[in-house]
Symmetry: C2
Subunit: 211 residues, 2 copies
DNA sequence: ACTGTTAAGTTTACACCGTTAAGTTACTTA
DNA sequence: TAAGTAACTTAACGGTGTAAACTTAACAGT
């Protein structure tokens, strides 16, 4: 019994160390530059051993994908305390951009990369809690904004998606190196300035605080 | 002399046919799924021949990248006739999204993919005309909007980039399959609805037409 | 007309990649 | 102690981008 326990524990340890190696390499080199063989070398096992613990490369990165959402939710956590929903919406916008810039490879994997998306579709309606939680932080805030008279007449679901799109836009352009078209002196801190401008736009939409 | 001409012509023909094969494969399978060997097979040459005409894989796709911007400018062409700059801005927004949805692989290559960006940086200050032209369509329109009293107090450059970000957001989420988080009944035509909402937001920013 | 040179294309090869099948240990249980 | 099995490795397949060496054919100059 005790032996079986130890074995179980060791299996989990190895699985965890595969994931740790994958994470380290991934964060400093990105998805495509991280190979199964790299990961194996790092933990001093043969490449094929990894397949005893993960179905394929996507399966590993799907695990990191989920980690990313846990991390994103940490950025959102404290914001639930902001009482005014419109203020909270603004805070979410900023936190989202901060998350993206501070965790570029995670962001890439979560929202840009093609990669572990098939894995997500396979595991289908198996909850996917953390992703829903992150999106819910936005949608409930939007709903509350509408209740308080902001964004009159707009569909909450489309609006939620629109807000997401707007912030995703800068993050994706920044992370995938499309900001360089802009003059050099503007480049520094551009993403944050765009974020501020989005917030500014949201505010301008209602001349003064409604209700 | 005539012989040299024929040879020159044939070289250009082969280069063009490489590009044509690359384009066909690329449009139906995407960048990563299109290999040098595929392209070579399609034109019935050995893979290494391609390296006599293009520096590397990125060099081929950089050519397609440029093609994409020519195509985008075609979508923008007729819009220059819209006299009112704010109306033109709205039209550009819609045209941009239409371009993205109708030319997904091109859009991906131009604005999402990591791939031929290094080639772009190498060819550095060698004009990059079509890209500038597309961005200029937006920036001059924004400038004119400001002249007519729209977007008071906003920085035109940051604003241009912000507008681009907003529309890029939907396009990127759509093309990279991140819209599926949304309930099924909302999914159909979501990108266009988001586009309309962005336009709606721009309009709401100034209660009534300024000036 | 013969010969040396060069351009154009191919063959071969290198170093990777993800992944599978077959083989080898080393430990555990009967 | 023998058998069985879980854990891991070796070898291999078919793919990738790319470079070096080789072949072939056409041309230019004497």
């Amino acid at each position: 019994m005790a032996i079986a326990n130890r074995k179980e524990r060791q299996k989990e340890e190895l699985k965890a160390s595969i994931l740790e190696a994958a994470r380290t390499l991934f964060i400093e080199r990105g998805y495509e530059e991280t190979s199964i063989r790299n990961i194996a070398e790092r933990i001093e096992y043969s490449p094929t051993t990894i397949y005893l613990y993960f179905k394929d490369k996507d399966d590993i990165f799907y695990a990191l994908h989920r980690e990313g959402f846990v991390l994103l939710n940490q950025y959102f956590r404290s914001l639930q305390e902001v009482e005014d929903p419109f203020e909270r919406l603004k805070a979410i916008t900023k936190a989202y951009i901060r998350f993206a810039l501070e965790n570029r490879e995670y962001y890439d994997l979560m929202f840009i990369s093609r990669s572990p998306m098939s894995a997500l579709e396979d595991s289908d309606n198996e909850k996917w809690e953390e992703g829903d939680r992150a999106f819910a932080a936005l949608t409930t805030t939007i709903h509350q904004c509408l209740e308080r008279g902001y964004f009159k007449g707009m569909d909450p679901q489309v609006l939620s998606f629109t807000c997401w799109s707007m912030v995703h836009g800068i993050c994706a352009l920044e992370i995938r190196g499309r900001c360089k078209v802009v003059p050099d002196e503007l480049l520094d801190g551009l993403s944050n300035r765009v974020g501020m401008m989005i917030v500014d736009m949201l505010e301008r939409m209602h001349g003064k605080k409604p209700v």
